[in-house]
């Protein structure tokens, strides 16, 4: 098997759970860095790079802010590449990842999780931009719903589906498990990375493992975080935790799916 050169690492559920690091993960990460390039990747629609960085540091990880690549970073890349001037439907906390981007005379609608903005007026504004000014529709991700302490809440996927229905325009989704997300994350490590020599480590069998495999990467599913019994049957490489996943990479035991 050819040697691994780049590794994408999921955050929540893989390196840490809430404010606690997975035991031994900090040292394992340092070891891994001696062998390969790494990038930290996550789906988020409202946590900025800064906030994620602070959390990882407080868990004891030695990580630079620029090493974190999120669905918001992917959206930013897409915006810059296409010279979009977005109409943002995003939580205010996420906006610091979009500093310096012009929003005048919008030619794109960018949707993340922003419940307080899911109202008739804002949806109509987005609808008019797409329908009458041919603005593009970009979704940070298309989650159906999520759990909060007080119960379930509609996810951004609902607003996106509503706009897709009303306008007949399909959204471009930028988060995991979209091909573009993995491509953009790997590209930050170098222009000529061979995808078959890159590995994704994560706890979500669909968004992390299968998503990466689909673009020609290899994947290691870790049995922490949101891992559910039965997930291990869907992929070849399974590790008890991030620590074991690092060993598999160093020992060159990561198979192609």
């Amino acid at each position: 098997m050819s040697k691994i050169s780049a590794v994408l690492i999921d955050l929540s559920g893989t390196l840490h759970i809430e404010e606690l690091a997975i035991p031994g993960a900090q040292a394992a990460l340092e070891l891994l860095r001696q062998h390969v390039q790494v990038k930290f990747v996550t789906n988020t629609t409202k946590e900025s790079q800064n906030l994620l960085h602070q959390r990882l540091k407080s868990c004891g990880f030695q990580i630079e802010k620029h090493e974190i690549f999120t669905s918001l970073s992917a959206a930013r890349d897409l915006i810059l590449k296409n010279q979009y001037r977005p109409y943002f439907i995003l939580d205010d906390k996420a906006m610091e990842d979009f500093e310096g981007i012009s929003t005048e005379d919008p030619n794109a609608v960018v949707i993340g999780l922003a419940p307080e903005k899911f109202n008739d007026g804002i949806m109509t504004e987005a609808f008019r931009l797409i329908k009458e000014k041919n603005a593009s529709l970009i979704a940070i991700h298309k989650g159906r719903y999520y759990q909060k302490k007080d119960g379930l809440h509609l996810g951004p996927g609902a607003y996106v589906a509503g706009l897709e229905y009303a306008t007949g325009v399909e959204a471009k989704v930028v988060g995991k498990p979209e091909k573009l997300f993995f491509e953009s994350a790997l590209k930050t490590l170098g222009e000529n990375i061979d995808f078959s020599n890159a590995v994704m480590i994560g706890d979500d069998v669909n968004d992390d493992a299968l998503g990466a495999i689909k673009v020609g990467m290899r994947a290691i599913l870790v049995k922490t975080g949101k891992f559910r019994s039965g997930d291990e049957l869907k992929v070849k490489n399974v590790a008890n935790s991030f620590v074991d996943a690092v060993d598999m990479i160093i020992e060159n035991k990561v198979e192609n799916d």
């Binding site: 109202n119 119960g151 379930l152 509609l154």
Partner: protein, 266 residues
């Protein structure tokens, strides 16, 4: 167009055909729609089949009367009373996500431990909290059912097109995988309300509307003839869409005049 088939009755859409809506006001009458309505009351039979979900039939009629269009309340068909009747007949206990003005139709219907959600709210009464409440009720149902008053993509206000209830139904369907039952145009069940009100077979009736897919296409699918007017939400690109109206006219008055001049045949 000398002969054609007899036209014995008219179903007219209201918004975009009789008048154009303006946010928080009565709106503005479309030129000569009042004359067209008077003419039809005198020389033919007419009912008004609307997807309007914000007001009771009484208030819909009153608004039109204030605009000088003499529509009788008893000739107005809107989804809310039809949905309420459907709930009664099918023993449904709805969670009501509707305008206050149509709540009267649901008087006496049990709304405790809901087994469906009825949705007819857009514009100022819409909020995240209200749609999230509907979402939570749906996702807890063994077989989630969402009844919508129409499934329109947008409606036309004078200030521009506005997102309509169909988009919010699509949002709830995406997140809960609910069944969506549309009681409004273009559903056959709803067009049957219009046919029954006229007491006619579909082939005797023409439907006049500004929405190509919902009014014209929906009517045609039920065996009526569909007439497109170039008012309201009409767009030039309708001509590229997969529905061909039996007649396209600049406005309601022109459509009525053309049919009348042809001896009420089309």
């Amino acid at each position: 167009m000398s002969n054609g088939r007899a036209v014995n009755g008219f179903l007219l859409d209201i918004t975009g055909v009789l008048y154009n809506s303006i946010y928080k006001s009565d709106g503005v009458a479309i030129a000569k729609s009042a004359e067209a309505v008077d003419f039809l009351y005198q020389h033919s039979k007419v009912k008004f089949l609307s997807n309007a979900k914000g007001n009771s039939n009484r208030n819909v009629a009153r608004r039109l009367q204030r605009l000088g269009i003499n529509v009788r309340e008893e000739d107005v068909i809107t989804p809310a009373p039809v949905v309420a009747q459907y709930c009664r007949e099918n023993k449904l206990r709805p969670h009501l996500f509707v305008r206050d003005d149509v709540l009267e139709y649901f008087d006496g219907i049990d709304t405790s431990s809901p087994n469906c959600v009825v949705m007819g709210e857009v514009e100022e009464g819409f909020s995240f909290d209200r749609i999230n409440r509907a979402f939570r009720i749906l996702i807890d149902m063994p077989k989630p059912l969402l009844i919508t008053m129409g499934n329109g993509k947008f409606f036309q206000r004078v200030d521009g097109p506005c997102i309509d209830v169909g988009a919010f139904a699509a949002a709830l369907k995406f997140s809960t995988n609910c069944e969506v039952l549309n009681i409004g145009k273009p559903s056959r069940f709803y067009f049957e309300q219009g046919m029954n009100a006229l007491g006619m077979k579909p082939e005797e009736i023409v439907m006049v509307g500004d929405d190509l897919m919902s009014d014209v296409g929906g009517a045609q699918a039920c065996g009526m003839r569909g007439i497109q007017v170039r008012t309201g939400k009409w767009r030039p690109d309708f001509e590229k869409m997969p529905v061909t109206p039996d007649l396209t006219a600049d406005c309601l008055y022109d459509a009525v005049k053309l049919i009348a001049d042809n001896g009420f045949r089309l």
